[in-house]
């Protein structure tokens, strides 16, 4: 806060002046530094419309060091003149009886601030002689504001319990708030964006009557991950390049023995209406433990379990981690979350699969869908799901789907007329699109950008 004496004096000056005062002039006449007046102006501005102050810049002239010397002691010529003794006068100078030290006079005018006494030419000449320099000065032109007053009532910053108790708030003036400024960030925790999207997908499945599968088993045997799904043992997905194998615990031990025999037979010899793959199926290959490459391994366990009871229709879902020994890039990591939906019932058709996918994707705000024939070892038919992306103006793949093969379902013991339809998609991709993230490492893993987590909005997939 500026010195209250200066503030009051300034207000008195403004009151007397008809069309305002210049802060520089006030400073000069009060004999204080210009900055003191500037401080007073700012503190008055903060109190509301007491004054109005326009920033203006003006040019003025100042004497250089040499100029100051001349102003004090006279110009060099004059000093020469005055130093010549009377007896030493040359003939030619006899004509001059006296001199007028114009240079000094001019400089003195400038020193007093009377710049207008000199014309431009004179000023420029003195500037050339390095006696003057031009300086730009910023000052305020101060006029009365709409609520001008020479007496200042101190404004209150905040309402206090005392004011409320005594009613004194009625007489007080309150300092206006700056509504342009941001508020203070609340001290809070935040949920991770990928987990927020996971919550929404869980919600959608629950709304559609799907029961959640227990997917808390990252380590799976090749048997449940591949063989039970009728994926042949030489399939590329079972390669070291694509799948993480375990060295400890390297092998799985317990399998439902009857079922395992039926799986072996359907691979190596066929059966259940199939020719099979006709190769030498090896238990050693099925025993190999891996990090599951898809949650469909859990679906297989669940469908096997279902087949051991009297059949009732089911709808299952899961959202959990899967692992691929892949080359990593901006959109691929060695682990990601798979979203999967499965429906088992008598006589389900392709139309049912497309219908339920339509309902599912409508809940994600995606209504334009079309389906492309595709290949997947354990579904037949298989369909890739494409949606029309309004932003990209093209069809983009959003998921995969299909009808599980009889070679997968019948060895489990499911009734022949039961079909199982399923679909899957990754959780990361819709999340990256939703939150505008280009590099998956900024989303998942320790290199996450915490500021992004802090700033993330709530997740509504359909808006």
């Amino acid at each position: 806060m500026a010195d209250s004496g200066v503030v009051e004096t300034l207000l008195q000056r403004i009151e007397k002046a008809d069309d305002g005062v210049d802060s520089l002039n006030v400073a000069a006449s009060l004999g204080v530094d210009h900055q003191v007046i500037v401080g007073a102006v700012k503190s008055l501005q903060a109190l509301g419309d007491i004054i109005s102050a326009d920033l203006r810049s003006s040019k003025h002239w100042e004497l250089t060091v040499e100029g100051s010397e001349i102003a004090e002691q006279g110009s060099h010529e004059a000093r020469v003149f005055s130093s010549i003794p009377l007896e030493g006068l040359a003939q030619s100078e006899l004509m001059v009886e006296n001199i007028e030290d114009q240079v000094r006079e001019k400089l003195l005018q400038v020193q007093k601030g009377n710049f207008s006494q000199l014309d431009e030419k004179e000023k420029n000449e003195l500037k050339k002689r390095k006696l003057l320099s031009e300086v730009t000065v910023k000052s305020y032109w101060i006029t009365k504001g709409s609520s001008f007053s020479t007496t200042i009532t101190k404004q209150e910053t905040e309402l206090t319990p005392e004011m409320i108790a005594t009613g004194s708030w009625k007489e007080k003036k309150f300092k206006p708030y700056n509504f342009e400024a941001m508020g203070v960030a609340p001290d809070c925790g935040h949920l991770h964006p990928l987990m927020k999207v996971r919550t929404q997908f869980r919600q959608i499945f629950l709304e559609m009557g799907f029961t959640e599968m227990p997917t808390n088993n990252f380590i799976e045997s090749s048997f449940w991950n591949f063989d039970s799904l009728f994926q042949p043992q030489q399939h590329p997905a079972r390669d070291q390049h694509d799948t993480f194998f375990l060295s400890d615990p390297a092998l799985a031990h317990e399998f439902p023995q009857d079922y395992l025999e039926r799986v072996k037979k359907v691979h190596s010899e066929g059966g259940f209406g199939s020719q099979g793959y006709k190769y030498d199926w090896k238990i050693e290959e099925a025993q190999k433990n891996i990090l599951r490459t898809h949650t469909t391994a859990v679906s297989a366990r669940m469908l096997y379990k279902l087949a051991q009871q009297k059949f009732t229709p089911v709808k299952y879902f899961s959202i959990d981690r899967v692992f691929r020994n892949e080359t990593l890039d901006a959109t691929h990591l060695a682990e990601f979350h798979q979203i999967e939906g499965v429906v088992a019932d008598y006589g389900l058709t392709l139309g049912d699969l497309m219908g339920i996918l339509h309902q599912f994707f409508t809940k994600l705000g995606i209504t334009k869908l079309r389906f492309k024939p595709a290949y997947n070892p354990y579904t037949e038919p298989s369909m890739e799901v494409f949606s029309y992306h309004e932003g990209l103006k093209k069809w983009v793949e959003v998921g995969n789907s299909g009808v599980f093969r009889p070679e997968m379902l019948l060895p489990m013991g499911l009734p022949e007329d039961v079909s199982v339809i399923a679909w899957g998609l990754s959780l990361e991709r819709p999340t990256m699109i939703k939150y505008g993230i280009n590099n998956i490492r900024e989303l998942v893993g320790h290199k996450v950008n915490l500021q992004m987590v802090y700033d993330g909005p709530i997740c509504r997939l359909d808006s």
Partner: protein
Amino acid sequence: MPTVGIKRDLLFKALGRTYTDEEFDELCFEFGLELDEITSEKEIVSREQGDTKASDASDVILYKIDVPANRYDLLCLEGLVRGLQVFKNKLEAPRYRRISPVNGDPQKLIITKETAAVRPFAVAAVLRNITFTQERYDSFIELQEKLHQNICRKRSLVAIGTHDLDTISGPFTYTAKPPGDISFKPLNQTKEYTATELMSLYKTDSHLRHYLHIIEDKPVYPIIYDSNGIVLSMPPIINGDHSKITLQTKNVFIECTATDLTKAKIVLDMMVTMFSEYCSQPFTVEEAEVPLLASHTLSSLFYVESTEKIAQLLTRMCLLSRATGVGDEIEVEIPPTRSDVIHACDIMEDAAIAYGFNNITRTTPRAYTVANQFPLNKLTELLRQDLAAAGFTEALNFALCSEEDIADKLGKKISETRAAHISNPKTAEFQVARTTLLPGLLKTIAANRKMPLPLKLFEVSDVVLKDETKDVGARNSRRFCAVYYNKSPGFEVIHGLLDRTMQLLEVKSARGEGYHIQAADDSTFFPGRCAEIIVRGKTVGRLGVLHPDVINRFELTMPCSAMEIDIEPFL
């Protein structure tokens, strides 16, 4: 899925009309293909090797088409055009025929028992009176390469050799010999090499070196001779130069050697069905007898449906079909090109594709089901919400990490952890499944050191522990871990979070039926600053101030306190 590059103008010529890129894309989509990219050789070379190298490359427009992984019959221009033309009703589905030679006995390929040690199977066939042009020849070579890369699993399962039959004379012998005993002039070389010399010669060959490992360590190498002792090929590495095919070749002898007989038959079927189109009698293949082995069969499957329409649809997919008139029965002839058809459901899919997936009426499954949440996930979801409300921010870390992360860096021995180990990690980041959530959170802090303090993070997620009682020998364990990172250790903050968590889980602070903490020794924590968390008499986790060595090893500079508990006991 394999990608096939096809010259656009050749394709349109073969299809008998031109398409706009959009029209062709649409056709692909309906048929189950994907027009992946429209490019040219020039563009590809320029992208991969720079503009200067590209100046000589051809700028003929190429369509890169993604083909489903099981449709080996669509891997070349011939098969693709045949499939599309039949699909568009412009061509009748060809019926492939196996014929006997006009004069004389079939060619013979005799397999000796020595091959059992290295590559036991072989099948063969002859294409008679074929006419090659440069384009057909290129496509012939390209198809072999595509088959080698896909179904042949980089030649490990099957290797194809093609020969000018007029330069060699049967019967042929497929045998295996020690590498030192094999000597011949390999394809495009000027002198003879022994097999041992060839293996070192090809060590630096950018293409062939990838196949050497298949036989390198075997005591004997596979080799095929003609009746005069001329080497046809040393599968799966290289053919002999003598029998190489040229544009003038009329009769082609094709052999496939394999470790998987079924796959060998499929590959041979593909080669002959695709190129039999250029024989003087199109779509005929002369069988070569392979004693002891059955040659390929044309199999049939029967599928019961109600209409003639289905038969028409299937015929459009190159599956010649007719209604038999017996009930809804349809007789379907499966050509040798369609090795993917092994069940009636595969035929049904083709009927659906011909009908058009997008023309099928969408319906809704009628089953009434009640949804249930998995209890552990339900608990996790509810807990996470309230942990965020308690001022902690959720992190999400990888389930895989290095041994160092879960052992050395935490001041533990890897043998003390019950970690599951991965046998084939590409980098150290994937050596083990994590046994604790703490390293992930500390790494998250290290990557976010620029953020204002304090950092308060949590994660509720699974770790993996070896467990003999499980069928796979391991199980997941759901954990809750939290860390507080600031200028002061803030043990009281983490302790307060534990108290709040117990409040949320309705566990009172008490010994016996409630929870309490008691001093414990743990090398991860600063001595005297660690306690066990005991709930209803059982230890569920620990909390404390981290040991300065641990803080240093995770490249952190501030004191840090942490807690980690198993949440499954609270179900």
